[in-house]
Symmetry: C2
Subunit: 218 residues, 2 copies
DNA sequence: ATGTGTGAAGAGCTTCACAGCC
DNA sequence: GGCTGTGAAGCTCTTCACACAT
């Protein structure tokens, strides 16, 4: 049994469980069943149990899972211990909101560097970070040991910035620009696109209503 | 061949293609191959062709797809024509950034109503919308014919608000609070959780590096 | 020569259903 | 009684590989 035998969707769900468990801890819940955890994460109970079974026996039959122990196990599996520093490129509306979003630190992330090419923004302090010019950005990011950049620049400049960061050997980009970010191997990228998520949601919601109506009628 | 025979992942990807095609249009590209579109969307070329094949023959052998025609076809399949109004609940850092994010309108969405329970925020105009009190919120949302709410309230209050919106018969919620949003049937919900996305990205990026090293060594 | 369209094969994931344990 | 852990079955999705069109 190696990492290759574990469904990649199982890995992705571990992060969802992780998040749900931190919420349960905050609520003071000590024990959780696969059924309850499944409800919160919107998957089936069988999926929850199967997912954990790839890594060991974390529960107690007849009882459920101890929230704290389960969280520790997932943290270990995902190697998600230490606070992680990230960099932000682009200090517009989105970038500014992220800098002021203090919750990141609770969740193990800190925006340690912020860059913008607009001279009027350079030098300003937002949250606890001072905006720097994009010149020499790659070097500064690397020398601080940062692996992940949040890209919040206008759509038109995103591909260029992403490609130059990729050349610098950066590991990962979380982008708010969904366009044309074909990337070389060796760099992972995820696009956050709220409009697209809303469009998907509405499609599925409307489909569900339509199916429900059909069931009532015929 | 009914809607039920089409992989749900195909449907989800149509939205990704849609977005990529709008970017290609803006760049002035007239023709695109499955290979190129696949690169942009980070899937395989076979997946792209297979996805379209469920709905018809949109391309020209030896040439590729006409960007505009393909976009029109996808728009029709997804029934994604008219501008859509949505409501925002919670005008904190995130909510304010969304209200100022003018790009939504380019992408077919408009935040038509905004609510907050903080009296100091009620009455203020942000972007083109005036913040209202949350009292009577459900009624106002329904009477405007809105199906989707963006939920940007503190984690602790999110479950309560979500449940009350569900009772009002709302169709869908896009939430920035990932916690304990077990929902009744009939309402669709998607959680946007940037910390979790970053954690996933870093995991996959580091795994990839480790695998690359192993290949070099052995 | 180039790139789409597609049945068939293959891979991967989820559900089932029940044994095992508290 | 209640809930976990898990092989086997079943299903869904992706990849393959090549016919077909320009």
């Amino acid at each position: 049994m190696t990492i290759k035998d574990i469904p990649s969707q199982t890995i992705d769900r571990l992060f969802t469980y992780f998040r749900a468990l931190t919420c349960l801890i905050r609520e003071g819940t000590e024990t959780v069943s696969s059924k309850r955890l499944a409800e919160i994460c919107r998957v089936s109970a069988a999926v929850v149990r199967k997912d954990f079974s790839y890594f060991g026996e974390f529960g107690t039959r007849g009882v459920g899972y101890n929230v704290k122990d389960l969280l520790d196990n997932i943290r270990r599996i995902l190697d998600f211990d230490s606070p992680t520093e990230v960099a932000l490129v682009g200090v517009g509306n989105v970038g500014r909101a992220l800098l002021q979003h203090s919750q990141f630190e609770l969740e193990g992330f800190k925006i340690a560097l912020a860059f913008d090419k607009d001279p009027r923004k350079v030098g300003h302090k937002i949250g606890s970070v001072t905006v720097q010019d994009t010149k020499g950005m790659g070097k500064k990011i690397r020398s601080r040991g940062i692996d992940l950049v949040i890209l919040a620049v206008p759509d038109s400049t995103a591909p260029g910035v992403a490609k130059s960061l990729a050349k610098e050997g950066l590991g990962a980009i979380l982008s708010f620009s969904p366009c044309d970010l074909a990337m070389p191997d060796g760099i992972k990228i995820t696009c956050v696109d709220l409009s697209m998520e809303m469009a998907r949601l509405l499609y599925h919601s409307r489909l569900q209503s339509r199916l429900a109506e059909m069931r009532l009628e015929g």
